[in-house]
Symmetry: C2
Subunit: 272 residues, 2 copies
């Protein structure tokens, strides 16, 4: 608007704000990894402002009708707020993890080198996020708002199907993509010859799977040696500084949970 002062050249706040729940990696982690991999500053408001941060996230992300700064309502966190990038110099607020990744992929240089690669990167991220959802459902197959303990019988069945059928189907797809791209990616990158948010998103899901289903993943290492070896270790090395920092939150009661009864059960010799 005409009355507004021009934005300050030197900002004291980071431009990018992550709006997400505090204390868990969750779906916010896919966004954090994009920033961390490129060393770009971001403000993780609910974790960094423990006094007022989460109230701000809730104000923007829960139950809004009017929208904030001219943006439409948000269905649920994570959302990204970019100061000055919206209507009339206000903030831009966008939501849905893969949508935020598409936006940041362009800005941060994490989405390949041509138009086709942008779509390849997004389809891989979307597929990894589908697996992320299926893993969530291993401990919440009936109702997201009920306790695990109240849907444990169904969880045992769901987890068995996800471990035996769905995880190998998804991992086979990622492994085949790695192989397809081996000439450029050297078994380290899924698309092209450098890091993209497809790598980061698939990596985070693999890392979470190893936390939630350690026996299952250990048993599958032989089937997917490059995916769970060269690829997993390579991205991990790229993220080392972040992973060693206190900004990397521990898995706890989010998507990736460790319930031993949902993991592969060691079979007795007598059963084989």
């Amino acid at each position: 608007m005409a009355e507004q002062q021009p934005a300050k050249k030197q900002r004291t706040q980071p431009t990018y704000e992550l709006l997400y729940h505090p204390g868990i990696p969750g779906r916010g982690e896919f966004i954090r990894l994009a920033f961390e991999a490129k060393g770009v500053p971001y403000y993780d408001i609910a974790n960094e402002d423990q006094q007022n941060g989460y109230a701000e996230v809730q104000k923007i992300c829960i139950g809004q009708t009017a929208g904030v700064d001219g943006n439409p309502p948000v269905f649920s966190p994570p959302a990204l707020r970019v100061q000055g990038a919206g209507k009339d110099g206000q903030s831009l607020i966008i939501s849905q993890t893969p949508n935020i990744l598409w936006y940041l992929g362009d800005k941060l240089g994490l989405t390949g080198t041509n138009e086709a690669e942008k779509y390849y990167v997004q389809q891989l991220a979307l597929t990894a996020l589908d697996l992320n959802n299926e893993v969530h459902d291993t401990h919440h197959p009936i109702a997201v708002a009920k306790y695990y303990e109240d849907q444990k019988e169904e969880s045992l069945k769901k987890a068995q199907d996800v471990r035996e059928n769905r995880i190998p189907k998804f991992l086979s797809y990622f492994a085949r993509t790695l192989e397809w791209n081996a000439a450029s990616g050297k078994n380290k990158y899924l698309v092209g010859g450098s890091l993209t948010y497809a790598d980061l998103t698939v990596w985070q899901v693999l890392d979470g799977l190893q936390f939630a289903f350690p026996k299952e993943l250990e048993a599958r290492k032989k089937e997917f040696p490059e995916l769970l070896g060269t690829f997993y270790d390579g991205v991990k090395a790229d993220l080392k500084e972040y992973l060693d920092s206190s900004r990397r939150l521990q898995y706890s009661q989010g998507v990736y949970r460790y319930y031993p009864e949902l993991d592969r059960q060691l079979r007795l010799d007598a059963e084989l």
Copy 2:
């Protein structure tokens, strides 16, 4: 490549091919609606070439390692093939429904009038597709590869949660977005003043819900009068020619199925 002839100016084949299962609307329907709403020709290969079409879909979309025409493997249908748009004049093949919609949104003029609106449109489509997945899980909460009859007990519980908690949460979000955009959209469009693929995607989910849970949706009409009235009827009118044609496939054994036991049960007066 240097040896190639330039592409013919007059194509005899449509440029866009939808690669999907035959005989069901499914996730392919979100792609069909984009073409149909704009009257842009597309080749629905598995339905239009009943002899060889589905074999071609399977060849490209199931278990590929090498990829086709330099494109990476596809996880599962739907995929979109665009002749001449890929590497060295070969075809471009991309997958994942929201990714295909993003691509077509640009080409067909279904994604708003500025950069911010493109992200708003995509976040709405992604959210509608999340609800689409949750509806699928009402009849397959335990395992996608097992029969409904083998997971019926769990389906009764899952469907109750989706009906009572998830459907109102999602419909409230779409209704609030409609309200946010009422000045431009007149309760007919979710983003801006004309049709986008957000409208088409939300509409298709609402249409499927009315098929799968007719009593539930009837009972909720009072809560969401614009969404299930002006909006639903308006998009339906825009699609009338298509919906009246034989190209619009019937719901059957896809995502949207009618199992009366999963719908809201009429309560006896004595229970109230």
